[in-house]
């Protein structure tokens, strides 16, 4: 029974980690293409979830609400790029970072002003109930989240490696100036990246929203994405996934097996410890792009 319990904790942790990956993914997309650390990603997650439930509350059917929210999020992403970041082009990264912090608070305020501050429930139609796989209990909802995340990552991976636009995005991430010199319009590319980040925020918002309820605390999932990013590297999509899995599994296992010795509550700080240790060994993260240097 001992190993079954271990397995249950491990699988539960891995699946929870997928949820962290989802948030981290939004960061990676923007950071990779524009070098901006978008602190407002969490606010975008909240904004997406809140918009979705509020639209649904008006009596709009599920799929239409989803579509409307998607449009809204893409517009929001493009709008942020246009209004906040484009005027700041060529400014030092810290300026851009500060701008996204400001943006984060603005979005939280805006979402609550428009949609109200009530906590909403969000029902995706997947029950959060465990089912039995060879004696190990796995949450259906977690499994669903993992499937969604897997599909999302596969789609993004294909998009980045196989399409003209995806290639252009990677080119911009690599060398802005060279991308400009071959005629890739940076402004369009950044708008697209922010649009895609809005889409990822929507997916994360729906899953997290139905898990925690749609409320202000959703913006705090950003903080859980940070150790994931440090572990996986800021520039790698697979890194965001693997980082999320390690953090998810690590914190659950630590809670269960180390918790009793350390009076519990480990889950809250363990990921940061792990990330800190990791920084010492591999500052660019597991999969972060190494600076290519020829000798």
């Amino acid at each position: 029974m001992e190993w079954q319990f271990f397995l249950e904790v491990l699988v539960g942790g891995l699946l929870a980690g997928v949820m962290y990956s989802l948030v981290a993914l939004g960061f990676v997309l923007i950071y990779k293409a524009s070098g901006v650390f978008n602190f407002a990603q969490g606010a975008m997650v909240l904004f997406a979830a809140l918009s979705f439930v509020s639209i649904q509350d008006m009596g709009v059917p599920f799929w239409l609400a989803l579509l409307l929210t998607l449009v809204l999020m893409v517009l929001l992403g493009v709008g942020i790029e246009r209004v906040v970041l484009r005027p700041l082009v060529n400014q030092p990264p810290i300026t851009l970072f500060m701008a996204t912090i400001g943006l984060s608070f603005f979005l939280e305020g805006l979402a609550q002003m428009v949609w109200g501050t009530n906590v909403h429930g969000l029902e995706l139609g997947i029950a959060d109930e465990p089912f039995d796989v060879g004696g190990v209990f796995i949450s259906k909802f977690d499994l669903f989240a993992a499937a969604v995340c897997g599909t999302l990552v596969a789609t993004l991976a294909l998009f980045f490696s196989k399409t003209k636009l995806g290639r252009a995005l990677r080119a911009v991430a690599d060398d802005h100036q060279a991308a400009m010199s071959v005629g890739i319009p940076l402004k369009h590319i950044w708008a697209i990246v922010w649009g895609v980040a809005g889409f990822v925020a929507l997916v994360a918002g729906l899953l997290w929203g139905s898990r925690l309820g749609v409320q202000f605390a959703l913006t705090l999932v950003v903080l859980k994405a940070l150790p994931v990013l440090i572990l996986g590297g800021f520039t790698s999509i697979p890194g965001a996934i693997v980082g999320g899995l390690i953090i998810g599994a690590g914190e659950k296992l630590a809670e269960v097996y180390l918790g009793p010795f350390l009076s519990g509550g480990i889950e809250n700080w363990f990921p940061y410890m792990l990330a800190l240790l990791f920084l010492l060994v591999r500052p660019e993260g597991l999969f972060g792009e190494k600076h290519i240097e020829r000798v």
């Binding site: 060529n90 080119a171 690599d174 991308a179 010199s181 071959v182 319009p185 290519i292």
Partner: protein
Amino acid sequence: MHATPSPYLLSVNNIEVIYNHVILVLKGVSLDVPEGQIVALLGANGAGKSTTLKAISTLLRSERGDVTKGSIAFRGQRIDALTPDQLVRQGVVQVMEGRHCFGHLTVEENLLTGAYTRSISRSEIKLALERIYHYFPRLKTRRQSQAGYTSGGEQQMVAIGRAMMADPRMILLDEPSMGLAPQIVEEIFEIVRELNEKEGVSFLLAEQNTNVALKYAHYGYILENGRVVMDGSAEELRSNEDVKEFYLGLGGEGRKSFRDVKHYRRRKRWLA
């Protein structure tokens, strides 16, 4: 009253460039590139060669530089106000100094990004790629390597090949010889000549290596301190005494010293 059509593919007319609103880098540079020619822009470090190219390609603006006076025309049309991607669509592509390949993309992906502005079918893209590989057979063998791990010469080829994928009329080539072995430099210039003759692409070429540049160019301009101090056909420049002494290192009388007053005066007069 309508303007007479310019006989030149590219005309730069008395441009002045200021960086950061204060630093005057170009002080009235004029030059012309006739269709189908290779024109060299020569001069020492900091003379303004790169700045001139960036002013033409409008990449200057991303470095806080501004063209404050003068005009630039391509096929008789003003191009100063265009964005870089509009300019590429018009047929002017810059190959930047230091090559600037996309290091994490493969050689082939690098080439493909060059075709971003063209709306052509997959099969046409394939043809375009094959055409590049025809001129740069070395790139074909390395097509799946990450560009960041290829040699300097190969990276320069990637950069030129990538520019060619845009199907340009004109390439602004900045310091292609930088950091490359003399043999590779010759190899690259041979390809440039071939592209010029067979594809009809005109080149404006900034180069410190005066020797090689004048061997392949049709015409040359010499820049000093942000001004054109001399221009002429490649033969004229090659046989000019001052050019020989100050740029080709062919003084004839061995090593120079500042004690050699005659030389010093000539050099001063030259720079004035």
